[in-house]
């Protein structure tokens, strides 16, 4: 899907649990049936170079903006709500899904008219809950490092494409 750019998963405290560059996930994978860990490792291993500092700053900005907009939305809303759903700028659109536990799934996409709420909801229930929370080897609050999780994400993003691509087929 050429419209989707990035996915961020934060816990309630603002710690980044998962980051995915969706264009790379869908179109540039090795295609040999083995999920790549490349994009995931950028969040786990920090070499201290400038790119990573920029990335970490960007991550903090994203969480900060979403946190501020969330409290702003709660103040502005005529009836009580939990959080806003999305905001659109001239270049991109940020959609957010916040679970009751405080886990936030944030999707950056092109500024189109599509509603990514259902996609984020299914990402939460079919990918995060299944492969992170129900995973006995996953400790809460730690970055998600699970090939099956990444494969499920690829499947869910790929299902948005009009025709299923080879990336989503199992070996």
């Amino acid at each position: 899907m050429a419209n989707l750019f990035e996915l961020f998963i934060f816990d309630g405290a603002g710690k980044l649990l998962y980051y995915e560059d969706i264009q790379r996930l869908l179109y540039h994978s090795s295609g040999k049936g083995v999920p790549r860990m490349g994009s995931q490792q950028s969040t786990l291993v920090f070499e201290g170079n400038e790119d990573e500092r920029d990335f970490l700053n960007r991550v903090k900005n994203i969480f900060g903006i979403c946190f501020t907009l969330r409290s702003l939305a709660r103040t502005i809303s005529p009836t009580p709500i939990n959080s806003f759903r999305s905001f659109v700028t001239s270049k991109y659109k940020l959609s957010i899904f916040e679970a009751l536990t405080g886990v936030k799934l944030i999707l950056l996409s092109a500024p189109d008219d599509l509603d990514y709420g259902p996609l984020l909801g299914s990402l939460y229930s079919e990918a995060y809950v299944e492969f992170a929370r129900k995973n006995p080897f996953y400790t809460l609050g730690e970055p998600i490092d699970c090939p099956a999780f990444q494969a499920k994400l690829r499947e869910l993003f790929g299902s948005l494409l009009p025709s299923a691509t080879a990336n989503t087929s199992r070996p």
């Binding site: 900060g64 905001f87 659109v88 950056l108």
Partner: protein
Amino acid sequence: MQIKEKQVYYLFIVSTNGGLIYDKKFSSIPLDKRERMNSDAMMSIASSLHTIHDLCSLITPPSLQKLDKSSETMIPKKVKLETVISDTFRLSCFETLTGLKFIIITSLQSPDCRPLLKQMYELYADYVSKDPYHPADQPIKNATFERLVTALFTD
């Protein structure tokens, strides 16, 4: 184009340095909420929106940033906050070339508000900017402007 008054909740005009210069609450807001939204709350909302608008450019995806660098000729296009959508309201923001922001908060059923914000900008240009008694970037205390803005919304 006119929007029904019952679909609008708030109107803000935020100056270039982030201060609130005009705000309007509509009667479609529930009474308890309206009482809690005093001028301090409105000012902090306006300042937060001003800051968020500026910070939006910091989180553009890298693939779009690269596109910008390769194709920009003279002036890079600034990233502007346009809409914020939630379950109960839609916030539309229109920023002029000078950095003045017109913000309207409506219900989800209201039509697109950008033409209305541009009309407000025209009213601002005609009745506020050209008002010799109005100091720049100060809260607007102009009865004519108030009357004309109210007239933009039908019943």
